[in-house]
């Protein structure tokens, strides 16, 4: 498992395509499709979490399942927790679920890469 995190449009997907030599068809957009079992890479994981929250599903249980059923996957997710705590409860819960899922993925991942201004920083595991 490799986790790639960073703000919106920080260059995460572009980096993954280039570095891991993946084409668009290798990357599952989790905002459109949740069939992660055979995906080499999943992007927009934070949107998937939002959908799970809306459906009252358990995002952490889903994340556990992903790690078990597709342990070599590259997961791309946005960092969304660095702002004002939302007044709306569902937004708040989504935000918290994103943070917790990222912690869970990072704990098990062999490598965690954080993108900032298009520059990858390896914050866990061996360098690139």
């Amino acid at each position: 498992m490799i986790l790639v995190i960073g703000g919106a449009h920080a260059g995460k997907t572009e980096f993954v395509k280039k570095h891991f030599n993946l084409s668009e068809s290798d990357i599952l957009d989790a905002s459109e499709n949740q069939n992660f079992q055979n995906a080499k890479c999943i992007r927009n994981y934070h949107i998937l979490i939002q959908k799970l929250c809306e459906e009252n599903a358990d995002p952490l249980a889903f994340t556990e399942r992903l790690m078990q059923e597709n342990p070599d996957c590259i997961v791309i997710t946005n960092e969304i927790g660095c702002g004002i705590v939302p007044i709306d409860k569902s937004e708040r819960l989504w935000r918290e679920a994103c943070g917790k899922s990222s912690c869970l993925l990072a704990e098990r991942a062999e490598k965690v890469i954080r993108m900032l201004c298009g520059i990858p920083a390896v914050i866990k595991g061996k360098c690139l």
């Binding site: 702002g83 943070g99 912690c103």
Partner: protein, 173 residues
């Protein structure tokens, strides 16, 4: 020693802070600044209080005026968190108080009483949204507090999905 830990929501800041203090068993205080809101909060707080007790923390709830707490000299304190303390000092009754000076003064007092002070804060200014004037003032106060505390601190850590990124000093062994 003063350590500042910053990061976003649910990024693992608290567990990291607890880990940094895990080898201290005596006079270890958890300074909780969050005001309980509703019955659920009271239940969660008593649950957390018990959990921390098992980790040798004595919980003190102090929502404002953190210089009022009574602890012995050479204590270790985990302050959680600056985001709540700042809001509590700022939004009292109908007025808005700009709390930076007072909080920094109180922190200096606390720093002098402790051998180890770990402060958990939040990154609140990165969502790009324009809020009401009061909230914008809060974002500004938090930014000013974080910068001031980072200057005083020996170590500053940004926590990213549970991973500590040291941005000043080093993590004590």
């Amino acid at each position: 020693m003063m350590i500042l830990i910053t990061g976003g929501s649910k990024c693992g800041k608290s567990s990291l802070a607890e880990r940094l203090l895990q080898n201290i068993s005596k006079n270890k205080y958890y300074l909780a600044t969050m005001k309980p809101f509703g019955e659920d909060a009271h239940q969660a707080i008593s649950r957390h209080r018990e959990m921390r007790k098992a980790k040798n923390f004595i919980t003190i709830e102090q929502y404002t005026d953190i210089d009022k707490i009574q602890i012995p000299a050479h204590s270790a304190v985990l302050l959680e968190c600056m985001g709540n303390l700042c809001a509590n000092e700022m939004f009292r009754e109908d007025e808005i108080f700009y709390p930076v000076e007072k909080i920094i003064r109180n922190l200096k007092f606390l720093h002098a009483m402790t051998d180890m002070l770990v402060i958990v804060t939040n990154e609140v200014g990165m969502d790009g949204i324009s809020y009401s004037a009061g909230t914008m003032q809060y974002i500004s106060a938090m930014a000013e507090l974080n910068q001031n505390i980072a200057q005083m601190a020996d170590t500053v850590i940004e926590c990213v999905c549970g991973i500590p990124l040291v941005i000043k000093g080093e993590i004590p062994c």
